[in-house]
């Protein structure tokens, strides 16, 4: 970290997009090219600023790095506490990476209120990065809520015809979860105080609290519901297809690429390590829902008539894999799970970009309106094919590494789940290739499609970085997995240790009570 020791780099990373917002505010709203250019430049610089994180990140430790910690509201124990480990590092990189592509993809797609749009975009970036980097629950919650607003606006203002319905559905769904989460955060805060006499929202401290299983169950449930909606896990997923179909392209990319990961990230950062004994109890339920999500999402995706909705349902399936791997709780499965978070951001991001490009040309996303496009749009077809292959996890692409590790890890601990989940791999190929065939292959028989223009340079520039990532992550995953190795093993060790300690406490307490009772030293025995 040497040279970076004195720079609060995480703060810079989080708030630099806000500097961009300030600049944007100064630009005349009529001057759209300047607005777009500024947004693009800022998003690129932001990405460049985040690069040192991965360069100077020390993969040899599980500790939080680049830590910044200053008291914020001293009286309440709220801190401005930032830090990243191997898990959040990669998601941070994904966020700054995808934001650039989102700005690029909005170049001609967004025609109204460009200024507000770009401001929302950069605002959203700050919110997402803040949520990923915060290590204080209040700070996290502030950022968590902060990202909701620009996302709500992206859907509600720049979305499709049913945008208001979709936006409200999105907002309400997530708010329900958020409220429950807030209550759980407060409860945890007071319970920690009760145990130690200290008020704090510092998660590194809260991790050390090992609550009774009963209390863990309630708080786990509250957190889990908030995150499960966000993921979204079956059966809390129905906001997603609506949000995706109505959102503008960049909104969908960010939504799928990063926002959904807030749910899965929430599980791995908060839910499981804070309440591990409860998590253990919830493992069968969550794995079951994950597997249902994998198969159900794939099957429902298969029958969709709208390409974007198809991709949205495929997200339900892919995130089922993420959840499955996470709750199988071993090295391979958890690393696969985190890897799959990144993969999904890359592949599904690419698919949404691609759908957006064709929507911009044809103003339709219905499969039946296409057919034979590969002949007219060979470059487009190539990118679409690569994104499709990455989505169905062809070996050599990123998708394979994630799915393989998840299924391998899951197979070790819970075979039936792994076997059922693996059928998702077959279904994935079926629905993606069937869609691809109907859109790209066959006769080019629609007049409107015969005049379509192939991708321009800007669009190629948007997709090339994704293709590079697809193969890089598929062929040399060591670069990425190596960064998370220590954090994941530490995560698993902590969880196991806490669960074991809790078990010993419970059994020990019971044994002691029994002993006292039998020796007659204990007169009143509480029944529970």
């Amino acid at each position: 970290m040497g040279g970076l020791a004195h720079i609060p780099i995480l703060s810079v990373v989080i708030f630099f997009p806000m500097v961009g917002v300030l600049f944007l505010l100064l630009i005349d709203r009529e001057n759209e090219s300047a607005i777009k250019g500024t947004a693009l430049v800022f998003s690129i610089i932001e990405f460049a600023i985040s690069l040192p994180l991965i360069v100077y990140f020390n993969p040899g430790t599980a500790d939080y790095q680049f830590v910044e910690k200053i008291p914020w509201v001293k009286a309440l124990g709220i801190q401005y506490f930032l830090g990243i480990d191997g898990i959040s590092l990669l998601l941070v990189m994904l966020t700054t990476f995808l934001t650039v592509l989102c700005v690029l993809s909005s170049w001609t797609a967004i025609k109204d209120h460009v200024k507000e749009y770009m401001i929302s975009m950069l605002f959203l970036e700050t919110g997402m990065l803040g949520a990923l980097i915060s290590l204080d629950l209040v700070l996290f919650y502030v950022f968590w809520e902060l990202m909701l607003i620009p996302m709500y606006l992206l859907i509600g203002v720049w979305g499709g015809p049913r945008r208001v319905y979709a936006a409200v559905k999105f907002f309400l769904y997530t708010m329900v979860g958020s409220v429950l989460m807030m209550i759980a955060i407060l409860a945890l805060y007071f319970l920690y105080h009760k145990a130690t006499g200290v008020y704090t929202f510092d998660i590194t401290k809260l991790y050390q609290l090992n609550l009774p299983v009963g209390a863990q169950m309630w708080m786990f449930a509250a957190f889990a519901l908030a995150f499960a909606i966000k993921v979204p896990m079956f059966p809390f997923h129905t906001w997603l297809p609506d949000a995706h179909t109505e959102a503008p392209t960049a909104g969908s990319v960010i939504l799928a690429g990063v926002l959904l990961k807030m749910g899965t990230y929430g599980f791995i950062r908060f839910c499981i390590p804070l309440f591990p004994s409860a998590a253990m109890k919830f493992v069968p339920l969550i794995m079951l829902l994950a597997v249902i999500g994998i198969i159900y999402g794939a099957l429902v995706a298969m029958m969709q008539k709208d390409v974007k909705k198809l991709v949205a349902y495929s997200s339900v399936s892919h995130l089922g894999f993420v959840m499955l791997g996470m709750f199988a709780l071993n090295m391979q499965s958890v690393e696969g799970s985190i890897y799959q978070m990144l993969n999904h951001g890359i592949s599904t991001g690419a698919l949404f970009l691609i759908v957006g490009m064709i929507y911009e040309r044809r103003h339709t996303r219905l499969i039946k309106d296409f057919g034979g496009l590969a002949k007219q749009l060979p470059i487009f077809a190539t990118f679409f094919m690569i994104a499709t292959l990455s989505s169905i996890g062809l070996p050599g692409t990123n998708g394979f590494v994630g799915e393989f590790l998840i299924l391998l890890g899951t197979f070790k601990t819970s075979r039936p789940f792994a076997v059922f989940a693996a059928t998702g791999v077959i279904l994935g190929a079926a629905y993606m290739l069937w869609m691809f065939q109907r859109v790209m292959f066959g006769k080019l028989d629609k007049e409107e499609n015969k005049v379509l223009k192939d991708l321009n340079w800007r669009e190629v520039a948007t997709l090339v970085p994704i293709v590079i990532m697809v193969f890089w992550m598929g062929i040399y995953p060591k670069f990425f997995i190596g960064k998370m190795e220590k954090s994941v093993s530490n995560f698993l060790a902590t969880v196991n240790k806490k669960v074991e300690a809790r078990r010993l406490m419970d059994t020990g307490a019971k044994a002691l009570a029994d002993n006292l009772w039998q020796t007659g030293k204990l007169k009143v025995r509480k029944v529970n």
């Binding site: 429902v300 070996p395 693996a422 079926a430």
Partner: protein, 649 residues
């Protein structure tokens, strides 16, 4: 040189990249030269390595190149690493050699096609993945090649994607293969899950085989059966063979290369590679042999009555692959590989010849519209004849040695049922191949005058590679002449060091029986299979040369059987209505009834309820901050009290 194994797949990759990234402006001849020479160089590298390998002691013929670490997660570790040993070098020689010929041929065949460049890009990529499959040192890297060739197969079957049938066939191939791959990966998981309990976290072949005893008999049976599911997909065996006949939608060089000579044999290669595991699982071996024999017989019966030139060959391929599985299934692993090699020559050639015919007939595939082609296309006819004699198992031709070896081994190792099916299938094979030859090449031309006028022999760029393969189809068997015929079966000897599974008792018993069998018995068996083949040829001669009315009458006499065979036992229809339509119906149900009908209905219902309640609660909105503050306080207190109370217990 043994540290340059990577060169073998490297050249096709380079060809792929040059034509793929830079080739937009290239002239066609350049694209062809680049693609073909990439494979030629790869063949050369393989050849050099082959001779390097020969210089080494048989037991030491094993080299690995580790390129870099691939997936590492916790203790699990795999690398990108290549390996050569007698088995992989034989496969690599066959693949690069046959590919090279077909690449040359394709330059002529695809000449006028607007997708010329795309074709060669895919073809180079295919060879690359095929070599990865063969040279992989671990199950996982093999799987990369395994799915990679599947991708190229998908792309090349659907090469003329404007045709719906082609696009559909490509997708079908991929999805059916995925079903097989589902079994394959579960097999890999089972290996890792079991071995990791003993502290072994590897999918490297040598590591797994070395510790195979740790797997235990039940697990090893499960593993080998799961892997075999993968093989039934890739190598088109019952019940997953249905994609291969449809795959004929692809350009004919693709059918020759991918769907006859190389990719479809991957399952056989995989089992031979895993002979150590299979030898420990007699049940699995029995399954492999029986499935192989059934497939060999079953698809040969379909081939009897088809009229599409390439489909006949496709069913024939399915059938011949069945033989290979019989070979490896009875424990005669090198016999299976031997047939794999000779089949690559003669079946590749048969397809190339069919392409040459299509080239002359403007794409016509119906053999009833051909006839008398012998006169117009002498070279094509003669090479076709060589390959036909080879596949029919006529002594002196390569197929005779390899097929006979398999039948002999299956008989002698006590698989009587398998042997009977195999022998019957051999007769059927001779029949349908000669039916095809007689109908297409002999007799009176049945095409219209216009088509007849255009008949011509193919250009040299197509005929020369066919001639090379024709020579291989004849002499290719001489490397494996059995001792009883005065040979030394050098092929088997060469492969011996890696067929360690042969030492396992169940298999060794059989091998011993074979070794001690009397020469006269072996001659008798040989005679039986030759006679069966000759009967097949004789029947075809009577049916299609002597008395062409006979088959028509026969078909009418047995209408039911004929319809059943002609419609391929209606298996496709059955799969479509049960599995494909069943899945779609279920999926529609989930979407319309569960997603929209239940889940979303509840969500919207709750939203509606909230709205109604909201209307009532609106009256609480007094506009006084004090009221709000008070309610926040009450709510907050309620929450805290609840949790304090909760935490007390």
């Amino acid at each position: 040189m043994t540290s340059y194994i990577w060169l073998i797949p490297f050249f096709p990759m380079v060809g792929f990249l040059i034509n793929g990234l830079l080739g937009v402006k290239f002239k066609r001849s350049w694209i062809h030269i680049i693609a073909a020479s990439a494979i030629g160089l790869s063949f050369l590298a393989t050849l050099i390595l082959f001779f390097e390998l020969l210089k080494v002691e048989p037991a030491a013929r094993h080299f690995e190149n580790v390129i870099f670490d691939w997936i590492i997660a916790g203790k699990f570790k795999t690398q990108i690493a290549f390996m050569i040993d007698p088995l992989s070098i034989v496969m690599a020689l066959v693949v690069t050699g046959v590919s090279f010929m077909i690449h040359i041929y394709a330059g002529g065949y695809m000449h006028g096609d607007p997708g010329f460049r795309r074709f060669f890009i895919y073809l180079n990529l295919f060879v690359f993945f095929m070599l990865i499959l063969i040279l992989a040192n671990s199950f996982l890297l093999m799987f990369v090649g395994w799915e990679g060739v599947g991708l190229c197969s998908y792309l090349l079957i659907g090469f003329w994607f404007e045709k719906d049938s082609a696009a559909t066939a490509g997708k079908k191939a991929f999805v059916v293969n995925r079903i097989g791959d589902f079994g394959f990966v579960l097999g890999l998981f089972l290996i890792v899950a079991t071995l990791s309990q003993h502290g072994i976290w590897s999918l490297n072949f040598d590591v797994v085989f070395k510790h195979a005893e740790l797997l235990g008999p039940t697990t090893v049976t499960a593993i080998t059966l799961l892997l075999f599911i993968g093989a039934t997909g890739k190598s088109a065996q019952i019940p997953l063979y249905v994609w291969l006949p449809d795959a004929m939608e692809g350009p004919t060089p693709v059918s020759a290369l991918i769907h006859a000579a190389t990719m479809v044999t991957a399952g056989v290669y995989m089992i031979a590679r895993c002979n150590v595991l299979y030898s420990m699982a007699p049940v699995s071996l029995e399954v492999v042999a029986v499935v192989g024999a059934l497939t060999a017989f079953f698809s040969a019966t379909i081939a009897l009555v088809q009229n599409d030139f390439k489909r006949i060959l496709a069913y024939s391929t399915v059938s011949q692959l069945g033989y290979m599985f019989v070979g490896v299934g009875v424990g005669a692993f090198s016999a299976g590989i031997f047939h794999l090699m000779t089949h690559a020559f003669f079946k590749g050639l048969l397809f190339l010849a069919s392409g040459s015919v299509m080239h002359a007939m403007a794409g016509e595939l119906n053999i009833q519209k051909m006839g008398g082609l012998k006169k117009f296309m002498p070279v094509t006819f003669w090479v076709f004849m060589m390959a036909t004699l080879a596949i029919s198992g006529i002594p002196g031709f390569s197929g005779f040695f390899s097929k006979d070896e398999i039948l002999w081994q299956s008989f002698h190792r006590g698989h009587l049922f398998v042997w009977i099916l195999g022998t019957l299938a051999a007769g059927l094979t001779a029949f349908y191949m000669f039916r095809l030859t007689f109908v297409a090449f002999f007799g009176k031309p049945r095409m219209d005058e216009e088509a007849k006028h255009h008949l011509h022999e193919s250009p040299k760029v197509m005929t020369y590679p066919m001639i090379v393969l024709a020579i291989a189809s004849v002499v290719g068997g001489y490397v494996g002449i059995p001792p009883v015929l005065g040979g030394a079966n050098r092929f088997e000897k060469f492969l011996e060091p890696i067929m360690g599974g042969g030492a396992h008792e169940a298999v060794a018993e059989g091998a011993k029986a074979v070794a001690h069998a009397s020469a006269s018995l072996e001659f008798t068996m040989m005679a039986v299979s030759v006679i069966v083949a000759l009967i097949g040829i004789a029947v075809a001669y009577v049916f299609y040369i002597k008395n062409p009315q006979l088959p028509v009458r026969l078909a009418e006499g047995m209408r039911g059987l004929y319809t059943l065979l002609y419609n391929k036992y209606f298996v496709d229809e059955f799969y479509n209505s049960v599995f494909v339509q069943g899945t779609k119906d279920f999926a529609t149900f989930l979407w319309q009834k569960v997603d929209v009908g239940i889940i979303d209905a509840i969500v919207n219902g709750v939203a509606g309820l909230v709205e109604t309640c909201g209307g009532l609660i609106r009256r609480l909105q007094t506009g006084y901050v004090q009221t709000y503050a008070f309610s926040i306080l009450v709510g907050g207190v309620a929450v805290f009290v609840y949790f304090f109370w909760e935490s007390l217990f």
